[in-house]
Symmetry: C2
């Protein structure tokens, strides 16, 4: 079987079309021949289905190792392609106009002859970075769990041992039913929080703001982000001069720009009926409770939220760490992408086994 | 009881000395009176043991809340002090010459009259940063698990709900017994790894370098850091031009300065008889195996290693995340502080319950 390589595409004859496309979903038919993407040819070479490809430019015959060494194909793509094939999927390189995806994966039992897609895959080395734009694109347009219509966007990370970790990316706007009327309170601004000497009971006991110093009758301490939000809503004043500006200023001193990003995400969560509390123990900005009637009857917190700038670059290693920890405590990891106006996207990232 | 505050120290009379120092370890005697650090006075105010302190400068009487609001004491210090008292410890503010420590904690049942120390505590808000120098100082001078002589250095992080998380910091130089003679091999440099077509068996099977593509007879793929180390040791050459420089250059393209830091830590671990493999699934640079005789008989990997620059600033939230994950998989989290010469410190950080 004569298979040629012109530097970007691999071409084989009609026999290859029957053997590889018709029965196993490799490549696509063109003019009676079979055109293979470089990664598809690499897989056929690796399996020994074709012994070599002939380089049209130099004339040499390239076996699997020489073909990989020629850098005709990224080995990261090869490992992802191979892993999905090993799992029983047929898949094709994504069209060039889909900038975020490297592969389109068909549902098990289907192939390029069918119309359905299971996954859109972006493949990356564990050492490379992932742009926020890529994550947004993988998450798709709709606020869905990728129903029947839209394929699940997946980041496939190839680690140094060439194992592949799959992370699904979904839009997931938090929503809840927490809503309590809160009377105004007055507090003192300390270095890193606000102390409310005589808090209205509803503030902590129902709306789950702050934490009493020790027992229920003690002063209530609010975090700076809680205090800034309440002050912004007109529910908290400070003894002495100044209001929300003084609190925000203190927050900025403590943690720079990150404070205002967190404050915007905090406000968006509260507006959506969700209670954000510190996620420190889980390495996140917030853990969230969707439906708080009373602190005596708190459910399990559902989400871990990390707030990042809208142009954030994700490190696959950090994603792996966050997602693994969240899974271990039965929560979902959500990234809030925030710009100066507010949170523009909520992206849930979860481990997936295709 | 008359207690006065001059802006930095709180002073009370001989009655206070008997009640607070002699029986409960607050403050230190001076000229027959009792001198209290601001945080000690805050705790006595909080408990109601003293109703107010009188501000020498303004003349007002400050109750607990007014005293905290006057910023006489950091509330972060107060929360740590209170938490340790609640746990049954006596503790004193650290002397000023100990720049990294805020508190010295006595063993349970002992106090400032005794010579022993259990912990040296550095207290921080979850939002603040921790300098590498502080971590170094907490770890102490010696390569010990803080035996009887040296108190354990502890980072106490106060989260937004004022819960305190304790992280111990120890020096922990990895060491192992992995040592195998490795014959030279030749490989092809791909985009993100090196492929060795005909590897000596010992390379993977005994010394645990790389990973076969699929089954044992397949080519062996080495990560860039493994390949760079082997090439540097004269055990790997590349087909085509160039050697270790080409690999390091590729590594630098992929992940910048971090590559060389990782390479130095990798070399130090191998030199110590320890096998580093990717820690990607745990969000770390490496997981390590101390004693590898054969890959068919691998033990549990003991450490997760994250390599950081020598002047790194630690974010308490990142520490919490790393340490929690490591604990969950029964490994110890170790930070390798590396400069351009190599790794200068190995710091193990672990959750501690005082």
């Amino acid at each position: 079987m004569h298979v040629t390589f012109d530097g970007s595409r691999v071409t084989a004859g009609s026999e290859a079309r029957e053997r590889f496309y018709d029965s196993r979903g490799y490549g696509r038919p063109r003019d009676g021949n079979l055109e293979l993407a470089p990664v598809e040819a690499a897989h056929l070479l690796f399996r020994g289905d074709i012994p070599a490809v002939h380089d049209d430019r130099g004339g040499e015959a390239l076996d699997f190792q020489a073909y990989l060494a020629s850098q005709a194909v990224s080995e990261v793509d090869f490992f992802v392609y191979k892993d999905l094939r090993d799992r029983g999927f047929y898949l094709s390189p994504a069209p060039e106009e889909d900038a975020a995806a490297d592969f389109l994966v068909y549902p098990r039992g289907q192939g390029p002859w069918d119309d359905d897609l299971a996954y859109r895959i972006h493949s990356k080395s564990e050492r490379a970075e992932v742009a926020a734009a890529t994550m947004r694109s993988l998450a798709g347009e709709d606020e869905t769990d990728h129903g029947d219509d839209e394929p699940t966007g997946v980041l496939a990370v190839v680690d140094e041992e060439s194992e592949v970790t799959y992370l699904s990316v979904d839009r997931r706007r938090p929503s809840g039913s927490t809503a309590h009327d809160i009377p105004s309170a007055e507090g003192d601004l300390l270095a890193d929080r606000v102390l409310v000497g005589d808090p209205p009971a509803v503030l902590h006991e129902r709306a789950f703001y702050g934490q009493p110093l020790d027992s229920e009758d003690d002063p209530l301490q609010l975090s700076l982000v809680e205090a800034a939000h309440l002050a912004g809503e007109g529910r908290l004043s400070l003894s002495g001069d100044g209001g929300v500006e003084r609190i925000v200023e203190r927050g900025r001193e403590v943690e720079g720009e990150r404070f205002e990003r967190r404050l915007r995400a905090y406000a968006a969560l509260r507006d959506a009926g969700v209670v954000p509390k510190t996620g420190f123990k889980f390495g996140a900005d917030f853990r969230t409770y969707a439906n708080v009637e009373s602190v005596d009857d708190l459910g399990h917190s559902e989400l871990l939220v990390r707030v990042v700038p809208g142009d954030h670059t994700f490190d696959p290693r950090d994603l792996a760490l966050d997602v693994r920890l969240a899974h271990g405590v039965r929560k979902t990891m959500v990234y809030a992408l925030a710009d100066s106006e507010g949170v523009t996207e909520w992206l849930a990232v979860q481990r997936l086994t295709p």
